[in-house]
Amino acid sequence: MTDLEYFKLSKPQKMLRDAGGFFARLPKGIGTGVRKLGMLIVNILKGIGANLSDLVTTFKDGDWKTRLSYLIMGFGSFARGQWGRGLLFFLFQTVFNLYMFFPNASISGCYYLGKLSTLGTIETYKEGRRTVYGDNSFFILLYGVLTLFFIAAFIYTWRVNVKQNRISEQLLKSGHKLKTTKDDLDSLRDEQFHKTMLALPTLGVTVFTILPILFMILVAFTNFDATHQPPSKLFTWVGWDNFRQLLSSDTASYGDTFRHVLLWTLIWAFFATFLNYFLGMLVAIMINKKGIRLKKMWRTILVMTIAIPQFVSLLYVSKMFAADGLINTYLMKWGWISSPLPFWTDPTWARVTIIVINVWIGIPYLMLIATGILMNIPADLYESARIDGANAFQMYKKITLPYMLFVTGPYLLTSFTGNINNFNVIYLLSQGKPLSLQLSGNAGHTDLLITWLYKMTVNDTNYKLAAVMGILVFVVTAVINLIVYNMIPSVKNEEDFQ
């Protein structure tokens, strides 16, 4: 079908064709994905091969300084006058060796690595009134992971150290001078400035995000929970058991509750994102309408909910809606109702209340964003539409909305993901209540995966399931992101409207 034929189709026909196109492309897309993955693996293998052969040639062609560097890191750099680099390499090797082979075996890297497969075998026991501590599974797992990190870093650094020797040799051979330590330091302010800038943030993220996440992913495959708490008790690997427990529908499992919570999480994220989005846009359009005065004042009033810390506003509003809260008592005083409205006690009421209160929190934010974008829509778009005879609603539908959706497409996606993990609103308003006997694991009807995760951790110290849940949240988020990235053109073609 040519483009011209396509233009002639009616709207439903076009949609049908587009959808068909999407599915027609799907197998190809999957094929490409698989092929890319294959290529990646091949490339990795090739890379390893190239590195190994390079190591051999470097050794064969290298002088004694280079060869000695295979054993003593940084030796070559030292011998060639680059003492700064040499010192760093040597220090790293020393620290690594110290850590791996520390004389006190119970805190050395090798010890942890050796125990990693069992997570400890010696139980803590009591000898009379004295407690004799055995293995601590928690530390074995944590430091085991850390040791693996360390070993990877060591291999990489060692490889760099060897490569440096080869590069230096070649440079010297071709008559170049090597960089002095002063040059190296200077370059940290210029060519290598990114290293200076990223050193601290990378360290922070590695230790405080990557390491913990890897650790928790591993915990998901252990039985680390209230009954297996180090140091008094050991925990160990259990394979996929926890996933089974969380997902299957046996009586002893959490499958039904999980699906219930997941469904509500998605419903919540949908409403929290799109309701706020459209209402916020509406408010922005109203305030920006020609002839409306005091624009700044209206905006400032709305922005109050952003300014005031959420724990103040949400806790207070939560109490306003309580059975003995202001709203119920006044409604009863005025005789409009005879018994308190079940804002927080009925599942549906609670859910609706939360979504409505979230509108109160969320509209101002979107109003600000929408205002910024509305002002950026080129005025001539509207002028030409008016000349073409469009009325206000048509202009909204054909210009404002597509433009907004286009520009804020990526924002909507992040906002949706953010709402899946929106702990504050739920926890400060309802703590996940009302609870129910139908739900296991202490989950309530307004619990999101993330608040349930929190409860499991804090109340039940059920770390293994918390870890599984964390992974599942990741999976949900990742899948949504992937779908949206592939379906919504605006996320990809950023240039269209500019």
Binding site: L198, F208, I213, I308, F311, T329
Partner: protein, 315 residues
């Protein structure tokens, strides 16, 4: 340049149907058509209603914070206006020996102040680097951050709690512990300020480098002075976040009351402890927290709006 623009009394308009040029009164002098006026009136009605809804809870909060604890009650009651206005609750919060409010306030302030400095430093380093420097692994870093961001943040908390405990940075050490946690991974929130840096023309860096500046000098002497709005935005965000954080703070300070932040402290008054007696005190505490933060926010609103809209538009 500074000549004042005269608002013309008449506009010149081309009347398309008649094909002639006419003089018409400009919009602000023209009497509005009936339809237009009706629409505007209903917009005003909606806006006034919204304003009431938006402000009411805060007004109520203030009212109830002034209710006398001694002669009335500290609990939730069935009326709004205090029968007797008093500063009882405030006096108790600030002076009573059993009140830890000042301590919590101090904790939060310290955390917020440190975050404002350190977190801003981290965020700007990362966003500047990713926006304006080109180096191997740049794309990789951005992708890794994207993937890490899909894990719920609280997941890391379990590990971090035990890690911090090893270092003595929980319970008694909760304040430095919180600072460490907030700051350490804050580089991942580089998105909005990177968007801002992306808008500064690249040729400025290039020109400065040709002029003899190192990249560090470009950052300090050229880009930073131009990035004032985003610096203020980042400081504001970093300063405000700790006031509202409940999850991390409650977990780190678990069980050690003097080391709570205001959010955790006031939360337990309302939900865990016998909140009925502490309700008006919660209100007073809320006012004491909200007023300075709100003033700060409104004063810097301009920068907030710039950051938020910029960030959303560039995605």
């Amino acid at each position: 340049m500074s000549e004042k623009k005269q608002i013309p009394e008449v506009d010149i308009v081309v009347d398309q149907e008649a094909g002639v040029i006419r003089e018409v009164k400009p919009e602000h002098l023209r009497s509005k058509s009936g339809h237009e006026r009706r629409v505007n009136t209903s917009v005003y009605v909606i806006l006034v209603l919204m304003s009431v809804i938006w402000l009411a809870p805060f007004v109520f909060l203030v009212f109830q914070s002034f209710r006398s604890y001694a002669t009335e009650s500290g609990a939730m009651v069935a009326y709004l206006l205090p029968k007797q206005w008093s500063l009882d609750n405030y006096r108790w919060l600030l002076t009573d020996p059993s009140s830890k409010f000042l301590r919590w306030y101090g904790n939060t302030l310290i955390v917020a102040a440190f975050c404002a400095v350190l977190q801003t430093f981290m965020v700007l380093s990362v966003s500047y680097t990713l926006s304006r420097l080109r180096f191997r692994g740049r794309k990789l870093i951005m992708n890794v951050v994207l993937v890490l961001g899909m894990f719920p943040g609280f997941l890391t908390m379990i590990t971090l709690y035990f890690l911090l405990k090893q270092l003595g940075l929980t319970q008694q050490g909760a304040v430095p512990g919180m600072i460490l946690i907030y700051v350490a991974s804050s580089g991942m929130g580089y998105y909005i300020s990177k968007g801002f840096f992306d808008t500064i023309p690249k040729s400025l860096d290039e020109s400065a480098r040709i002029d003899g500046a190192t990249r560090a000098q470009v950052f300090r002497m050229i880009i930073m002075p131009l990035a004032k709005p985003i610096v203020i935005y980042t400081i504001l965000m970093a300063f405000m976040a700790p006031w509202g954080d409940y999850v991390f703070a409650s977990y780190i300070a678990f069980g050690s009351e003097p080391n709570y932040n205001v959010a955790v402290g006031l939360y337990q008054w309302v939900n865990v402890a016998d909140y009925q007696g502490f309700f008006t005190r919660f209100c007073a505490g809320g006012v004491l927290v909200a007023v300075p933060i709100t003033i700060l926010f409104l004063a810097l609103q301009k920068y907030y709006v710039e950051g938020v809209t910029g960030g959303a538009v560039k995605g």
